[in-house]
C-alpha cells in the first residue's frame, strides 16, 4: 500500500511541475498552451546537450552536476517559453480563443518535429543516470535519488507559490488574471508580466524534463505529448488557474493512476483516471480548489 502511495506521489510530482505552467498561463491569459508539454521535452533535450558538452561526469558528482544543469536548463527553457509567447501568442492577443488554441497546437507540432530535425527520431539516453539502490521505508521501496527529485520539485513549487502570493510580481500576475484591462490602466506592464509568467511556467516544465531524463534515462522528441495531456488533466482536477490546487491535482492524478492500476489492472488505468476527470468536470467544474467563477469574470 505504501508502495502504491509512493509510486503515485513520485509520478504525481512530475505531473504537478508540468501542470503549474499550464495553470499559470491559463490563469493569466485564458490560453490552453498545448505546446507546454513540448517545453518539457525541450528541457530534457537541453539538459542532454549541456551534459554532452560538459563531457564525462563521474557518478559520485552526479547529483550536484545535475543540479547545475537543472538551473541552466530552466533558464534556457524559460527563455524559449518567452520566445514562444512573443512569436506565437502575442500577435493573437485579443483574437478569438479558438485561434489561439489552434496556434498552440501548431506550436506544439513545430517544437516536436523541429526537435526531430535537430536531434533525430532515435530516442536518446542520458549520459548521467540516477539509479541508486533502493531503501525500504514503511514497506515501500524508494531510492535516495527519487527523494532528491521529489525534494527539488517541492522546493520549486513552494518557491513559485511564494513568488505569486508574496511579491509585487505575483500581485501583478494575479491582477492581470482578474482583469487585464484594468491592470493596464493601473500602470502594470501587461505584456512584460505575461512574458515573465511564460518564463516561470516554461522553466518549471524544463526542470521536470531534465529530472525525467536523468531518472528514467530515455528521452525522445514525442515525450512531451502524453505528459502534456496528463498535466492538463491534473490542472483541471486541481482547479486550473489556481496554483496550490494544481499541485494537489498533479499529486492526485499520480495517486489515481497508481491505485487505478492496482485495483483494476493496467489496461483500465486510464479509463479510471480520466473517468474521474469527467466526474470532476460534471460535479465540480472549477476543480478541487478552483476559484469561484464570479471572481474570474
Amino acid at each position: 500500500m505504501t508502495q502504491l502511495v509512493w509510486n503515485g506521489l513520485f509520478v504525481g510530482s512530475f505531473y504537478a511541475l508540468v501542470a503549474l505552467g499550464y495553470s499559470m498561463v491559463y490563469g493569466i491569459i485564458k490560453l490552453l498552451n498545448f505546446a507546454h508539454g513540448d517545453l518539457y521535452m525541450l528541457g530534457a533535450f537541453t539538459g542532454f546537450a549541456i551534459l554532452g558538452a560538459a563531457g564525462g561526469v563521474s557518478s559520485s558528482a552526479a547529483l550536484p552536476v545535475l543540479l547545475g544543469v537543472l538551473l541552466a536548463t530552466m533558464v534556457i527553457t524559460g527563455l524559449a517559453g518567452v520566445v514562444l509567447e512573443r512569436v506565437a501568442y502575442r500577435p493573437l492577443r485579443g483574437a478569438p480563443r479558438l485561434s489561439l488554441l489552434i496556434t498552440a497546437v501548431g506550436a506544439s507540432f513545430a517544437l516536436e518535429y523541429g526537435m526531430r530535425v535537430v536531434a533525430g527520431a532515435d530516442p536518446r539516453v542520458y549520459p548521467v543516470r540516477l539509479g541508486g539502490t533502493a531503501l525500504e521505508v514503511f514497506g515501500a521501496r524508494l531510492t535516495v535519488q527519487q527523494l532528491a527529485l521529489v525534494a527539488v520539485a517541492v522546493v520549486l513549487m513552494a518557491g513559485l507559490n511564494l513568488l505569486v502570493t508574496r511579491t509585487r510580481e505575483g500581485r501583478a500576475m494575479r491582477a492581470i488574471a482578474l482583469d487585464p484591462r484594468t491592470s493596464a490602466l493601473m500602470g502594470i506592464d501587461v505584456n512584460a508580466v505575461i512574458s515573465r509568467t511564460f518564463f516561470l511556467g516554461s522553466a518549471l516544465a524544463g526542470a521536470a524534463g531534465v529530472m525525467a531524463g536523468a531518472y528514467y534515462g530515455k528521452i525522445d522528441f514525442l515525450m512531451g505529448f502524453l505528459i502534456g495531456l496528463k498535466a492538463f488533466t491534473a490542472a483541471v482536477i486541481g482547479g486550473i488557474g489556481n496554483i496550490p490546487g494544481t499541485m494537489l491535482g498533479g499529486l492526485l492524478l499520480g495517486l489515481l493512476e497508481s491505485f487505478g492500476t492496482f485495483w483494476l489492472g493496467g489496461e483500465w488505468r486510464d479509463v479510471f483516471a480520466f473517468g474521474v476527470l469527467i466526474v470532476f468536470l460534471t460535479v465540480r467544474p472549477t476543480g478541487l480548489l478552483g476559484e469561484r467563477v464570479t471572481e474570474r469574470v
Partner: protein, 387 residues
Amino acid sequence: MRATPLKSLASLTFAVLALAGCSQGLLGDGGTGDQSSAPAQGPIVLGMLIPQSGSEAAIGPYMSNAAQLAIDEINAKGGVLGRKLELKTADDACDPQSASAAANKLVTEGVHVSVGGYCSGATLPTLPIFGRANIPMIIPAANSQELVDQKLKHVFLINGTGSQQAAAAQKWVDKQGAESVALMHDNTSYSKDIAVRAQNLLGDKAVIVEAVTPKESDYSANITNVLAKKPDFVYWTGYFQEGGLIARQLRQAGYKGSIMVADGAVSPKLAEIAGDEAAEGVYATMTQTPETLQGAENWIAAYKKKYNADPGPYSNQSYDAVRLAAEAITKAGGTDGAKVIAALEAVDGFPMFSGPLKFTPEHTLANGGFQILVVKDGAFALQDPLA
C-alpha cells in the same frame, strides 16, 4: 441554388475518377483487362510503408535501406522483365491513421506490389486499401495473427507469426524451468496478440497479464502489480523503448528473475535505455537478425559499404521481401495483381535468409524460425536456436 455546386462537384469527381482510370490504363499494365500483349512501360514500382517518424522511427531506415539494396542488385542485373524496379517509401508513423493515408498515397502513386509493414496495428488498416487496388502485399515484419485472420488473398507474411512466437516463448520458459510467468503488453494489436497467445499456451503458469500505456516513462505502478504475483519470468511483448524502461524499472524494484522481450523490442537501443546492468541477460524471441544469420557476411558487407552503417532488425526480411516480389513478378510475367498472387502462392523453395520459402494456405511461413537471443555486453547475441 444548392444543386449547382453539388452537380459541379459530382462532375469534377467523375472527371478525376476518369483521369485516375486512364492513368492506370496507360501507366499500369493490367489489373483491369488483358493487356499482356501490350508492351509494359516504365519502372515496376514497389511500395513500402515503414515508420519514419514517431516512436518507431529508428526502424524505418533499416528496412528501406535493405530494400533499396535488393533493388539496386536486381536492377544491376537488368531488372525484372526488362523493366527497372523502383522503391517508393511512405511514412506510417506506426499509427493506424497515418498508415491509411500513406497507403492511399502509395496506391495513387501506382505501386504494383507492397513490400512494407512493420507495426501490425498500423499495417492492419492498410490491408483493404491495397486489396481494393488489387496490389499484393508481402509484409516483411508485421506479424500479428490478425493480419492473416481475415484470410485476405493478397496478404503474405514472411516474418514468423504471433502464434509461432508465443510457442517459441513457451518453449524457452519450459526449458528454463520457470514456474510463474508475468506477461506484459502495450495493448497494440501485435503486442497483445503475442501476450494472449502465450497466456493460452502457458496455462496456469501465466500468473498475470498486465497492459501498460506505451510512450510513458514511469511503469512503476504496473511493475508493482506484476511483482505482487512473485513471477520468476517476465515476458514483455511490446516495443524497445518501453522494453528498456521496463527492464530497468523491474531491476530497480528488486526483481531477480528472468526477463524476456519479443521481436519488436530487439534493438541495440534497448540495452542502452535499460542501462548495461539491467539489460545484461535479457532474453528475446526473435527471427533471424543480421547478427545471427549464418553465412550472410557478404550481404552484411555490401550493406555496410552502401550505407556506412550496420544492418539492423528486419533488414534481412525487407531485402527478402523485395527479392520475393521480383521473383513473383517474373513468374507472373507482369504486374497483374491476381497473377502475382498466384505466383506467390506457387513459390516453392525460394531461398531466403529464413530458409527455403513455401507459404502455408494461410499465407504465412510454415516455420516461424524464432530463436532465443540474449543480451551480452550490451548487444543481442544468439542463445538458443530452438531448432
